[in-house]
Structure formats: structure tokens, C-alpha cells
Symmetry: C2
Subunit: 199 residues, 2 copies
């Protein structure tokens, strides 16, 4: 196994990621076109050129393929919070990480729009998305306590701060959506953080 600037993840893992992404985007596209309920796993698999059985090797349920519930992202965010400079306050660290996260989301805007649209149309999906959001929030809360080094059963503040930060994200995002996705989401988020008293 040559490391360095070599093949990196290796062909096998690269293919796996490709397939996962292809299934996700295919599912998303078909569902947007004709509605979540009117799309079958069989179709998705066929368009993505894998067997139906393989679909379930990547996603446990049809909805998972649409939400792309990535357990790794929550973990990555957790790590990112811990990686912030030690002199930053919890609020500052959370703010920095979430701002970065939102910037990343703004990058592939189209994908995000499709997801939002679907969630608005399907209660089933909205629930999934909410579940994913909650796991994300939990990761953030854990990270806040890890930075503070205090006991969650006694110290309210870190958890509260993390949740308020998420409240700011949601508020900023809703405003952004209602305003037709114009302007910078990151700017709106900064305003929301300030208004929430996070610093």
C-alpha cells in the first residue's frame, strides 16, 4: 500500500462512494419529478445501474437514500468543534464551526433545494430530516460539553449554548428560504448569532 499522493482511498472505496452518491442523486431526482410515493426502489436501482438488492446495501430504507442521513457528518462536526483553538469560548467555537458548515451547504445549492422541496412535500421525509437534524444537534451538544469539561447533569450552559446556536441556524435558514434564497446565508446567520447573544 503506497501512501503519499497515491490513489488515496483506492479504487474500491472510490467506486463505493460514487455508487452511494449516484443512488442518492438518482433517488432525489426521481422523487422531485414524480413525488416520493410514486418512486420505487426498483426504479432507483435500475436508473443508477445496480440491482435492487444492492440499493439496500447502501441505504437501509428508501427515505434514507433521499435524506442521505450521513452519520459521519455529525461526527465530523463534533471533531471540528474540539479542534477549534482552546482560547475560544464555547460560543465562539460553535459559531465558527456552524458558519463553516453553512458555507459548505451553500456550495451545492441545487442539491439542498431539492431536499428542502421534498421535505416540504412529504411528512415522512420531513420527519427523517428532523431526526438527522437532531442527531446533528446532539453531536454539537456533546462537543460543547467536551470543551467545557463539565457534567451535563449539573451544568446547563454548554448544552443550552449549543442548542441556541442551532436555533440561530434554523432561524437564519428559514428567513433565507422565505426571502427566496437571495443574499448570503452566512451573513444572515451572523446576524442571528448576534441577536441570540452568542459570543
Amino acid at each position: 500500500m503506497t501512501t503519499g499522493a497515491g490513489p488515496g482511498p483506492g479504487l474500491r472505496d472510490r467506486k463505493k462512494e460514487e455508487t452511494r452518491l449516484r443512488l442518492h442523486t438518482t433517488a432525489l431526482r426521481l422523487a422531485v419529478e414524480r413525488g416520493v410515493g410514486a418512486v420505487t426502489v426498483e426504479e432507483i436501482a435500475a436508473v443508477a445501474e445496480v440491482s435492487p438488492r444492492t440499493f439496500f446495501n447502501y441505504f437501509a430504507t428508501k427515505e434514507d437514500a433521499l435524506v442521505n442521513t450521513d452519520a459521519g457528518r455529525a461526527a465530523a462536526t463534533h471533531a471540528a468543534v474540539l479542534a477549534r483553538p482552546a482560547e475560544e469560548s464555547p460560543a465562539e467555537a460553535l459559531r465558527a464551526v456552524l458558519t463553516e458548515h453553512v458555507r459548505a451547504l451553500e456550495a451545492d445549492r441545487d442539491l439542498w433545494r431539492m431536499r428542502s422541496e421534498l421535505a416540504a412535500r412529504s411528512p415522512e421525509l420531513a420527519a427523517r430530516a428532523a431526526g438527522a437534524g437532531e442527531r446533528f444537534e446532539s453531536a454539537l451538544v456533546d462537543a460543547a460539553y467536551a470543551r467545557a469539561g463539565t457534567d451535563p447533569a449539573r451544568d446547563l450552559l454548554p448544552g443550552l449554548t449549543a442548542r441556541v446556536a442551532m436555533a440561530a441556524v434554523r432561524a437564519a435558514y428559514q428567513q433565507h428560504r422565505l426571502a427566496g434564497q437571495e443574499g448570503s446565508l452566512a451573513d444572515r446567520l451572523a446576524t442571528a448569532f448576534d441577536a441570540a447573544g452568542l459570543r
Copy 2:
């Protein structure tokens, strides 16, 4: 039809409510006993003494029977916020309504514990619960904007305030859970509201 202390809803509707509740509690009990995945709709229906087909006349999915996703509660909360005295600030109104809401939850503690336990064990259910929570939060946000009378696309504050209030509820609840459900949840919530700067 004599009103007053009369038959009220009528036999038919009474039976319907009974059946619904029986299915809900049966599902909950079986799921707690042997795990969500190991219970089939067929069993639930059999124990509740209805046909499997009838189960689906009451709940669209097996999970719905467990979460008993009550759309009315969000609406009731919305109304409650609007019913608060006009001189209260948005934050005060939200605080009062949420405190009352939490007090009501503390009342039937056992039911709540079963639900929490199930949600902790089943990601599927956790997602449902999160979805219900989000609908609740949305109702609160709507109510805040209705009180403020401003445009959600322009005015960030009411939505942010409502979400921060929910953040306080979640933080207080988590602490309460981690502390073994001892003491008053309402008191913890008051502390959380203060710490979040809501007044």
C-alpha cells in the same frame, strides 16, 4: 339529541376513541416488552381484538401507532400563545405557554417515560418524535410572528425567539433526564429561560 350531561359524542365515536387508544397502548406495551422491530401489526391487532386491516384504518404506519402523533397539540399551542395577554412580550408569552406545557407533560410521567425509552432504542421512532417536535416548533414560530405582526422574510427576531425558547426546553429536559428525573422540570426550565436571556 339532548345535550348537557347526555350521551355526548355518541356510542359510535366513543367506540372509535376507545379502539384508537387501545391500539396505541397495546402497541406501546408490546414494543417496550420486546422491541419495536420484533412486534408486527398483526400481533398488535390481535391483542387489541381488531383485524389487521382495521389497524390501518386508525394509523397510517406502525410507528404512528407508537408515537400517536397528535396534530392537534401543535394547533392548541399556537392558539394558547395567541391567547396570552397582549401586553406580554413575545418571549414572556412563549415562556408562559411552554412552562404550562411542560407542567402538563410532568403529569402523566409514565406514558412519557415509555415513549422516551422507545425513542432512545429505535432510530426510526426517534425520527418520528423529532418530526413531531419540529411541527411543534413551527407552530410556536408561527404564533410568535402572528403576535409580532411582522413579515418572517424580513424580521428575524420572533422566529429566533421562539426557537431559542424551544432550545431552552430541550436543554432543560435533557438535564432533567440525565439527573434521573428528580426535582422539578419546570424549575429547570425557568433557569434555562433566564440563562438564554428570554424575558
